[in-house]
């Protein structure tokens, strides 16, 4: 992989250390357990600590170490590297990368300031196209809802499995989730169920999940930030064991974000999500109503009214409307 940064820049160093976890639409995403080098601790005098580690994990030392990592929420680091896109004209690419990177950093900082749950910004390297972020431990909403299209792409049209998926999504529509559970044994979509199973075990319903998405969005929009790319992939669910709510929604990927004050912009933002929802989760479309409801509540009637009117307008206009007649 080509790293545009100078070989001595911190970003380049961490990218080399990190593990490539995803190639998103515009950036490669690397994950690091910590910003600090892995310490090798040799401490002959404290026998108690070494014995405790040996009792807990036997001979393998990394095990308790990794446990620690997943527990500590501040440890993990995500590096988003916007590598130069060869298909784009270099001038265009450079200006897009620079503006998106700064907007992402600014929006994240601004959102965090007003109490929206977003990943913390650790560092920004605008020359190298890198941004270092706090790692969010959890699952994307898409994973949890079992986004239709992805599974199919991977299974490559095995009809049997596809039918299973349809069943499971029907089940998600209603209240029963029995089928979903059965599916867990199949390995293929294990990730889907891990998240949902854990959340469900905490007594969270689909509707509750939708409502918290809605309130998270309302919170974001009341800071006048427009996300610009709301999809179910860009929302993470993080468990919060020590607080009132068993989980929280973390909005991620602010690369297309901007600030705006007109109801029009909020409405378009919501509409992008609405369409993404309908195409990714065709069978759980009606759940989306819960998102809007909570959004309206979060924003308050005074702010919601104009957005509601605009949203109806946006739905009707352009090519997006359902074309009949």
């Amino acid at each position: 992989m080509s790293v545009a940064t100078s070989p001595y820049s911190p970003s380049a160093y961490y990218i080399k250390k990190g593990e490539l976890i995803k190639q998103g639409a515009e950036a490669r995403v690397y994950s690091l357990p910590s910003l600090f080098p892995q310490p090798t601790i040799y401490n002959p005098s404290s026998s108690s600590s070494s014995s405790s580690s040996s009792t807990s994990a036997g001979s393998s030392n990394p095990k308790p170490n990794s446990d620690l990592k997943s527990r500590s929420q501040h440890g993990g680091v995500i590096i988003k590297h916007r590598f130069p896109k060869q298909y784009r004209h270099p001038t265009l690419d450079a200006s897009l990368t620079a503006s998106r990177l700064t907007f992402e950093a600014r929006s994240l900082a601004r959102a965090a300031k007003y109490g929206v749950v977003v990943p913390k910004v650790l560092w920004v390297d605008e020359k190298g196209g890198c941004i270092g972020l706090e790692k969010v431990d959890g699952w994307s909403v898409r994973e949890v809802l079992g986004g239709g299209a992805e599974g199919e792409m991977e299974i490559d049209d095995d009809e049997e499995v596809e039918l299973d998926k349809i069943d499971s999504q029907n089940a998600l529509d209603g209240s029963g989730t029995g089928v979903e559970r059965d599916e867990q044994g199949e390995g293929e979509i294990e990730g889907v169920n891990e998240g949902w199973e854990k959340i469900r075990a905490l007594g969270v319903s689909q509707d509750q999940l939708m409502r918290s998405i809605g309130s998270a969005l309302a919170q974001l929009h009341s800071t006048t930030i427009i996300h610009g790319d709301l999809t179910t992939s860009n929302m993470m669910i993080r468990l919060t064991p020590n607080s009132e709510q068993p989980f929280e929604i973390v909005l991620i990927d602010f690369g297309l974000s901007s600030t705006a004050q007109f109801p029009e912009h909020y409405a378009v933002d919501l509409y992008v999500l609405e369409r993404a929802f309908a195409s990714t989760h065709p069978r759980s479309e009606k759940l989306y109503a819960g998102v809007l409801e909570a959004y309206a509540q979060g924003l308050g009637p005074k702010k919601w009214k104009p957005v509601e009117i605009k949203l109806k307008e946006v739905r009707k206009r352009g090519r997006k409307r359902d074309m009949t007649g």
């Binding site: 515009e26 990714t280 352009g318 090519r319 997006k320 359902d322 007649g325």
Partner: protein
């Protein structure tokens, strides 16, 4: 009994049954300024379970307007009326089939321009009654997708459908072609055509092609509005901003350019280098900038959709899909993601009758026909409104 139609996947159980004899379909397309008629055959291949698809004929006649003018619905319909009998006769003659051999007649039900669509539907109805052949109404976009899949044998790609009237990013899921992203205002082809009109490019063979040719001579990238909104694009802004440059003081139109080059020839020795540094904007530069920026937006939303659904392959269909620069950019993007790009040449990219025949025959093999009273056309017909019964 059920046999896989496509050879590419082993596991897939296609709902299509293997034809026991040769099946023929005539497709009529006339949703915009192209009038196309084609005959396709699906026949059982001697060995194995593969259905052999053959294009027997693919005839097209395009209504070309003078530079600076677009095609109006009524004039386009008149063109179609004038030509449709000749085009159909030619297609049937080239295919070497008799009317009694045909299993179905497919026509474009929508989306498109109303009056031109009516011409195609009317002729299809007449032929159906004359020769007693069932009719199948076809969604134009689905026709593009099915033909693209057939020609390139790409199995389950993300589809970028780019034409004069449509700009959509589509993925198949559960018997529907679902639209993941699309234009929020005008289509990419419309954007290019309108700009070609502004700078006075010819409409022959197509304005988009002429822009592609002129863009190759462009060097300077002028900043234009870049509008991606999630997986959607907005193209009205870029059209407006590129049009604004034609009113810029630095802009030289074709006449100015030829004057400049005449002057330049006299003193070509002194300022050969200076030519590049001159602060002028040429129509070539604008074509170049428009293509680079607009296509970057399209590639970006395609990449977003790929990342979102986890797909690897891209299929480009529609008239703008034969633009080589777009294909090249998409290719670079796909290779960065270890994917592939499938595209076809102009005979299948640009609106044609054969794609209507292909989609129509697929539907017909699933037992779908359109009864006469439901053969009306519709200008608005969403890609995701079609039940894709022929795919698993």
């Amino acid at each position: 009994m059920t046999q896989a139609q496509a050879s590419s996947s082993k596991k897939k159980i296609s709902p299509l049954t293997r034809p026991t004899r040769r099946l023929l379909c005539l497709g009529i397309e006339g949703s915009a300024n192209k009038l196309g008629v084609g005959v396709i055959s699906h026949s059982p291949s001697p060995k194995g379970s593969i259905t052999k698809v053959t294009v027997l004929s693919n005839v097209r006649h395009t209504y070309i307007t003078p530079p600076g003018e677009g095609f109006l619905p009524s004039d386009t319909a008149r063109h179609h009326r004038d030509w449709i009998v000749r085009v159909i006769e030619e297609a049937v003659r080239k295919a070497g089939v008799r009317w009694s051999d045909l299993d179905c007649i497919a026509f474009t039900k929508g989306p498109g321009m109303g009056t031109p669509l009516q011409v195609g539907a009317l002729v299809a109805r007449t032929l159906s009654l004359l020769h007693n052949i069932p009719l199948v109404g076809v969604n134009h976009c689905v026709g593009h997708i099915e033909m693209g899949r057939q020609i390139t044998s790409s199995h389950n790609p993300i589809v970028l459908y780019v034409s004069g009237g449509n700009t959509q990013v589509i993925a198949y899921s559960q018997q529907r072609y679902r639209i993941f992203g699309e234009t929020l205002d005008i289509a990419i082809g419309n954007c290019l055509d309108r700009f070609a009109r502004v700078i006075g490019l010819r409409n022959d063979p197509s304005p988009g092609y002429n822009i592609e040719v002129e863009a190759k001579k462009g060097k300077r990238l002028v900043p234009l509005a870049y509008g991606t909104k999630g997986m959607d694009v907005s193209l009205a802004g870029i059209l407006h901003s590129v049009e604004t440059y034609t009113k810029d003081k630095r802009y030289k139109n074709w006449d100015d350019l030829s004057k400049l080059s005449a002057e330049g020839r006299e003193k070509v020795d002194q300022d050969q280098d200076q030519d590049h540094n001159q602060d002028i904007i040429t129509p070539h530069d604008l074509c170049f900038s428009l293509q680079e920026t607009a296509f970057a937006m399209l590639v970006e939303i395609t990449e977003r959709a790929m990342a979102h659904v986890g797909a690897r392959d891209v299929l480009i269909v529609g008239g703008v899909g034969c633009n080589l620069r777009l294909q090249e950019m998409m290719g670079i993007m796909a290779s960065e993601r270890n994917g592939r790009v499938f595209a076809t040449d102009q005979s299948f990219c640009i609106d044609n009758g054969i794609m209507i025949a292909q989609a129509g025959l697929l539907a017909h093999r699933m037992g779908q026909t359109t009864p006469l009273e439901k053969t009306g056309v519709t200008q608005r017909y969403r890609t995701d409104a079609v039940h894709v019964s022929w795919r698993a």
